[in-house]
Symmetry: C2
Subunit: 293 residues, 2 copies
Amino acid sequence: MSTQEKGYFTEENSADVVVSRIGPSTDARLARVMAAITRHLHAAVKEVEPTQEEWMAAIQFLTKTGHKCDDWRQEFILLSDVMGVSMLVDAINNRKPSGASESTVLGPFHVPDVPELPMGANICLDGKGDPMLIKGRIVGTDGAPLAGVKLDVWQTNDDGFYDVQQKGIQPDFNLRGVFRTADDGTYHFWGAKPRFYPIPDDGPVGQLLGKLGRHPYRPAHLHFILEAAGFETLITHIFDPDDRYIHSDAVFGVKESLLAKFDLIEDPVRISAEGAQGPFYEVVHNFVLAPTT
Amino acid sequence: MSTQEKGYFTEENSADVVVSRIGPSTDARLARVMAAITRHLHAAVKEVEPTQEEWMAAIQFLTKTGHKCDDWRQEFILLSDVMGVSMLVDAINNRKPSGASESTVLGPFHVPDVPELPMGANICLDGKGDPMLIKGRIVGTDGAPLAGVKLDVWQTNDDGFYDVQQKGIQPDFNLRGVFRTADDGTYHFWGAKPRFYPIPDDGPVGQLLGKLGRHPYRPAHLHFILEAAGFETLITHIFDPDDRYIHSDAVFGVKESLLAKFDLIEDPVRISAEGAQGPFYEVVHNFVLAPTT
């Protein structure tokens, strides 16, 4: 028997030996995933050549990241986010046909079972920030308007926090709502102009960002989940292109097609026509859904 | 500006965008390490193409692994061990000159400040198992015997546990000792023939091993740390080549050069000469230390 046939480990054959131990009755998908992870992990270690102290620092970092996780905080998702892995997984799972609207990360602040509101309702219950009217049309890739599409929307308030981050401070369901498109595929509702905000940066991931000279901010955005029978569910944001962090989203969520236009409306005729109390921001953004394949 | 110059993320440029965010004043070593980890991590994700559910399962696995860690358990080191990464880091950091004895993993059960014992002492304080006499000579790569080398040795008892795993059950410092070589470089002491034992397998890493069709056992071995002024410290084991798990160590610690010979001595003359009560195992193992460079 050669050294490798005996299962002995050397620096040269390291990944092969580890992969060769995967048993024959292992689930085929798990076996493929673990083989790939093992090979890439060993390749990374061979490139980096960590000292024992560096390897222990990596172990300690992962341990602290695990210890930071609880029912309200998922530090490993944050790590995945800031390493661009969450967006990569999103991209791999949402390759859209030409013309369909693009996806981006769900984020940790979605809430299920939010009340459905009538078209035109104002989801800004705390009255903070600049009023914003969002409207548009939802169509299929064939251009036909889609009626009854469920829009699930959420955003931060003007202090940069989601309602669930400030329970008891913000009204319940502040800046959240579910709407359905009209027969002509249109939607409109009122919110508040969103603001940039930091991802939670008081843990190991925030410390890592600091050491890498990176800031923890996400540029201002609104979240959407669009659901319609016969179409792929679209999880996405629209972003403020003038935000100072638009080119450096801490979680890499920005795509060019997701940039919206935030127009300040000061014309008294428009203000009156929309029933507003004063100047407001208007965002017109259309979405194109891909049929399920 | 191109999409990439704007810092926007695509499936194609994902790792480049993440690496490009590393700030110019980042510690050069950290920057290099994080760039390599990012590129290999993205390459692994692109090869595996995880579903969102699979990615979340990976997040949950890492979270459970973190939650299993406490002052007495280091589940991420176990993960590193069973993935062969601990041995790879060991190999990278212990490339020995030709002829020098090879290293292997330290393991989690070393204890500092163990009492120094006179040559020939018996470290088996619980009287369990088959008596074993270990002896040999320690020399430099030039063949010259090394006097006063510190040997720090430890092993499991006959139940397959280290003393620190059974505090209050085993005597303190059971099967541990520190010795120093004589002027001619020789050493000898008594212990108990070691047994195979499982790594802690009641956590997420043990579950993973199970799913991969792998057992959690380490073949029988004795641990050594050899320290001498002017020489590289050697952290190693000697293994029982007849152990049933010698070709499938759960942590990949076995190297061919670390196989020792465990001879059963039944000759009454030898038994009497060594002052033994009956048959015993004899292990003769020499070590060669590399001078510090």
